[in-house]
Amino acid sequence: MTAIHDGDGNEIADIDLSDKQRALLEADEEIVLIYHTPQTLRSLLGEQNGSFVLRKKLSQIIVNNADRLRAFADLQRAIRAVREQH
C-alpha cells in the first residue's frame, strides 16, 4: 500500500499501486488513475467512476483531487468487503 497525500501534506488514503505506476512516479512522471465500479458489483455498490492524478513531490505522493481519491479508496474497501462475503 502506498500513502497518498494532498497538496498540503495531509495523508488522504493508502492505495495499491502497481509496480509500473510506482516506477513512473519514481521517474517523476505524473500518472492518471481511472477508477470504476466493477461490472459484476454494480448492483450492490452502485455505479461510480472518476479519475485523479498522482505525482511525486519530494518523498510524498501527491494527489490533485483529494475527494476523488477518497471516493476511490472507499470504493476499494467496499469491493474487498463484498468479494469476501459473496
Binding site: 502497481s18 509496480d19 509500473k20 505506476q21 481511472i34 477508477y35 469491493i79
Partner: protein
Amino acid sequence: MPAQKIPIEFGEWRPDIALLDTKFASEVENVFAGVNSYLPCPSLLRFATTALPNPVCGLYAARTLSGGWKIYGGTRTKLYVWGLAGWTDISRTVGGAYNVAEGDLWSFEQSGTKLVAVNSNDDPQVVDIDSGLNFAALAGSPPKAGNVKQIGDFLFLSALANSPPTWTNRMIIWSSINDITGWTIGLNLCDMQEFPDNGPVQGIAGAENGYVVQDRGIRTIQFLPGDTTFIFNFNRVLHDRGSISKYGFTAIGDVLYFVSEDGFYAISGQQVMPIGADKVNDWWLAHSDIDRRNVVQAIAGVNKPRMVWAFHLTSASHVYDQEIIYDWSNQRWARATVPAQVWALLATPGLDLDTDGPEPGDPLLDSTAHALDSFAYVGGRPLIGAIDEDGYLCALNGPNMPATMETSEVHLAPGQRAFVSDVYPLDDTVDGPGSVAAGTRERLQDPVVFNTPAPLEITGSAAAYSSARLHRFRRSIPQGAVWTHAQGVLVETQQDGSVA
C-alpha cells in the same frame, strides 16, 4: 473386356462417410492435405543436444527487443530457457518448486518485454525476456490461472483456480490497461467478469477482439474504447458447444478453432462452421483417448495454413502420439503419427557469421554461399516445434515421415470380379520408392484383406496380381524418401477370366 488403365485418386480424407466407389481416401497417415494431392510430412529433428527432464509440459518462443527469439521450456517443477549451450534453469528462487498438475501444461504469453507463465497451481510467473534471469511472481497478486492471453492492451487470466468466493473457474480477470502489474479490480480498467452458465472458462483466444472459450459455450470479447463503465462487451455466440480441452483451441486472425465434445469447429464472428462434420469427427472420437480429451493441444501453423490438434490415441499413450491436421485454405484433413510431449510454435535460430558449425545452411564465412548481410543469417523463420519423447527440443523439419495413403474402395468391373495386374503410383518419390498393396474382398460383408505390399519395379509400377470384386489400394512411401505430391494410383485391370 480388354485390360484398361483406370486412374484412382486418393482424394480427400473423409473417414466418416461411406467410401464405396467414391472419390475420397479411406486412410492417410503422415501426410499433409493439398488441393489435389497429399504432401509429405516431415519428422521431428532434434536441434538441441541436451534434454529436459521428463515430463516436459511447456514450450514457448518469445521475441526479444532486438528481434531475436528465446525458447522457454517447462516441466512440472521448473522453468527453463534454451541456449546453444543447452537448457538453463530459470525457475523462481522464492517459493520452491512449481507444482503443475499431472497432465496439465504451462500457458505462456508474451506481453511487451515480459513473458508470463501460468499454471493453475502456482502464482503467475514473469520474466524479463531481454534481461531477466529467473522467473518471479507477477506483481499485483493476480489469481492463479491455467490460461494467460494478451488481448489488445490487456493481459487476461482465465481458467482460474477455484478459491470461492473470491475466484472461481467461471471467472476471468484482465489487467490494468498496458500494465501487467496492475491487478486492482476497478482501477485503470482492470476488471473481472463472471459467466453464470456454459461451464468453466477453458481460456481466452484471439488478439484484438477475442473469444472466451468455455467448455459448453463461446463468447466474443470486444473492447469498448473510451468506455470506462463496461470496458469489454461479451457476446455469446455459441451456447451448447465449447472446447472440451483446456488447450484445444486457438485463433488465427479472427477465426477461432476448437475441439468440442462432438468434434471440430471454427467460429468467425457469429458464424459457426462445423469443419469436422461428415469428415473426421467420428474418426477422431473413435481414435482418441476419452480420458485425455481434456488436454488435446491445438497449434496454429504460421508458415502454412494449417491447424493441428495433438492428442492421445489410446489410454496406453504416454505422450501426444497422434496429430489431426486441418488445412483451412482447402478445408481438407490429414493426420500424422508424431509422438511428442508438448508442441509449440518456434522460430529458427539465427546463424552466426563466424561459425563453420554443422548447422544446415551455415557455410564457412569465406565461402560465397551467402552475402554477409544475407537474410539467411537472420533467425526467426516460423516453424512448428516440440519436445520429443526423450525430452529433446525438436523442429518439425526432419526427413519425411513414412507415409501411407489409401484409395476408396471401388468396383473396377461392376458386377464382376476384376483382375489387377499392375498398379502405377501417381507420385514423384525419388528415394526408396516404396510399395503398393491391394486390399480386396468379394462382398461388402467380408473383411478387407491386403496382399503383401509389392515393391515398385524399374517400370515405376508394382505387380499387384490380385483378383476380387472390390479393390482398394494402399500406397506406402518409406521414411526419409523425397517426394512432393502423391495424387493416386493408375490401375491396370480387366474383367477376371477374360483375355486381354
